[in-house]
């Protein structure tokens, strides 16, 4: 999988608090090829968000430190790359969708304001320039792309005027503003109710298919993983314990932890997890 767009190699991260150093990631490796939908699962606190933040360069470095490893993007190591170049990539070539649509939008600015600001500075980093009008046009275009029905109205709204599903779409739209090749989504839709969640997942799936995005989705909802992703990494206490194509993983989890995780999921059939495990082939 060396042709992967994003390739995390043996990443270790530790946090230093109160003078005590606590490792959080132990040699995590994963690959995200273009035009693929990769899921990263694991229980709460297993290190998913830390992995994502390391990739995006969002870790607050005083408490955190990357003790080893490399993050290759398009074959170049993000960690050793000059800061300026890296900044050029984040928010433009690689972008992310935040977990909580309720709190990830600035409540005091309109959607248009927030989105065009992002676009303005993304352009500036890439040495492009666009007039206000053009920027606004692009904003509306992207809002339409995420199937927002009335882009103009949404653009003029403050976040509080939008429903959770709409906000999540706005967040996705923000990530898509400067046509990224890699999209990292941290638990998208978990804060929404099922019907809305289903719509968002469908949207992401379509984006991968239509625009050839590489999508890394972080979640702990195995149902979501199974229904949308192509390939899964399972993480436990900062270690990737298992990786496999989605269908394979669900059909025959190799590691006990994965199995336990799958077993814990309540079933729509109503079978108690324990009973089901016995019934499984």
């Amino acid at each position: 999988m060396s042709d992967a767009l994003l390739s995390v190699r043996d990443l270790s991260v530790e946090f230093t608090t109160y003078g005590r150093t606590q490792p959080v990631l132990h040699g995590v490796s994963l690959d995200v090829p273009a035009r693929s939908h990769v899921a990263l699962v694991g229980e709460s606190g297993s290190g998913k968000t830390v992995t994502m933040k390391s990739i995006m360069g969002l870790l607050h470095m005083p408490p955190a430190s990357i003790s080893s490893g490399a993050i290759l993007y398009d074959g170049r190591d993000l960690l050793t790359m000059p800061r300026r170049e890296r900044l050029k990539l984040t928010g433009t070539d690689m972008s992310m969708v935040f977990q909580d649509p309720m709190s990830s939008l600035n409540p005091v600015f309109t959607i248009a304001d927030q989105m065009s600001t992002i676009l303005k500075y993304a352009d500036r980093r890439l040495g492009r320039s666009r007039s206000r009008r053009e920027r606004m046009q692009r904003v509306l275009e992207v809002l339409a792309q995420v199937r927002m029905r009335e882009p103009e109205r949404v653009a003029r709204s403050y976040p509080i005027m939008l429903s959770g599903g709409m906000r999540q779409r706005v967040l996705i739209a923000m990530a898509l503003l400067s046509e990224p090749r890699l999209l990292i989504a941290d638990e998208p839709g978990t804060a929404l109710d099922v019907t809305t969640q289903a719509q968002i997942l469908k949207l992401l799936k379509d984006l991968v298919e239509e625009r050839g995005l590489a999508l890394l989705m972080i979640t702990h909802n195995l149902g979501v993983v199974r229904e949308t992703s192509d390939y899964v990494y399972v993480m436990h206490k900062g270690v990737v314990v298992e990786e496999a194509p989605t269908a394979e993983l669900f059909a025959a989890p190799k590691v006990a932890y994965t199995r336990a995780l799958i077993d814990a999921v309540p079933r729509l059939t109503g079978a108690r997890p324990a009973e089901r495990t016995e019934a499984a082939p």
């Binding site: 709460s44 109710d193 019907t195 289903a198 195995l222 999921v265 079933r267």
Partner: protein
């Protein structure tokens, strides 16, 4: 429905309207959050209340708890109307609630022990015996007695949820209202909490009103469910029946949207038509159905 036992809780024709606050605090109108809802729970049963966010689930729970005064309708407990006694001490002895978010339902400035002691104090549990009772309760939810001296921020989400359960059970209520008790937890912790609730229910002969929008969980835990849509119960019945043969379109949409992890489950899900190549929203779907009442639901492939 099990007719073997008389219902413990009966909710009759419950209505709740809220004023809609306009900008700058004026009253712009009214919205009906709960619209003539009736259901009953048999003694020892688990009644699940499902529905999308904002459909009125918590509002019903809060009316049963006396945190909201119903606009109309009654709440009967063992046949006695408790609408007037809502929020009183006698009421709190019979009905208890575990709140949606374990973090915010514990006072951050009080220790776990102090929090658990609240119902004991309120109901005149002898002071000398409180300490013992607290460890007993903690033990019941499988927490070490030393947790009594900790502050909520020192506990994990699952632990906090268990403390909340212990506190709700402190006065041995008959009915426990669980408002999305696991939504903030991770699957593995969630499974443990549900297990705990099941065993405590059996042990203490509790009746649960279980509120969630996690349908898979509901399928496992409840023995009867009601599906709430915009303040109205659109469908109710024994769990298996509702899940296997959903009658209402909304129920179907809901079940169809649940992400699942196995093929059997998938087979169980009804399919729903895509509108404009998208999964429709509930309103859209119902509007569509309204216009083509007679048409059969096409199966999704």
């Amino acid at each position: 429905m099990n007719a073997r036992q008389s219902p413990l809780l009966e909710v009759v024709d419950l209505v709740k309207t809220f004023p809609i606050a306009g900008a700058f605090g004026g009253r712009a109108g009214e919205m009906t959050a709960v619209d003539h809802v009736s259901f009953s729970i048999r003694r020892g049963g688990v009644y699940g209340l499902a529905g999308e966010s904002g459909s009125g689930k918590s509002t019903i729970a809060r009316m049963i708890m006396g945190l909201f005064q119903p606009t109309g309708g009654d709440v009967l407990l063992s046949g006695a109307n408790i609408t007037g006694t809502l929020g009183t001490r006698a009421h709190s002895r019979q009905v208890q609630m575990v709140f949606q978010n374990p973090g915010s339902s514990l006072n951050p400035r009080r220790t776990i022990g102090q929090s658990i002691a609240v119902p004991l104090e309120a109901h005149g549990h002898p002071r000398a015996d409180r300490r013992r009772r607290i460890s007993e309760l903690l033990d019941m939810v499988q927490l070490p007695a030393s947790f009594a001296d900790r502050y909520p921020h020192e506990l994990s989400g699952g632990q906090k949820q268990r403390v909340a359960i212990a506190r709700a059970l402190a006065v041995a209520p008959q009915l426990v209202v669980l408002d999305e008790p696991t939504s903030a937890l991770d699957v593995s912790v969630q499974a443990r909490v549900i297990e705990l609730l099941t065993s405590l229910g059996r042990q203490l002969d509790l009746t649960y009103l279980f509120i969630s929008h996690d349908l898979s969980l509901m399928r496992n835990f409840a023995d009867e469910v009601g599906v709430l849509y915009r303040g109205r119960i659109v469908e109710s019945g024994p769990t298996a029946r509702v899940f296997e043969q959903p009658e209402h379109d909304y129920t179907r949409l809901l079940i169809a949207s649940v992400p699942v992890i196995s093929a059997e489950e998938e087979a169980l899900r009804p399919t729903i038509p895509l509108i404009d190549g998208e999964i429709p929203t509930a309103e859209k779907l119902l509007a569509l159905r309204e216009s083509q009442r007679a048409t059969e639901v096409p199966k999704r492939t």
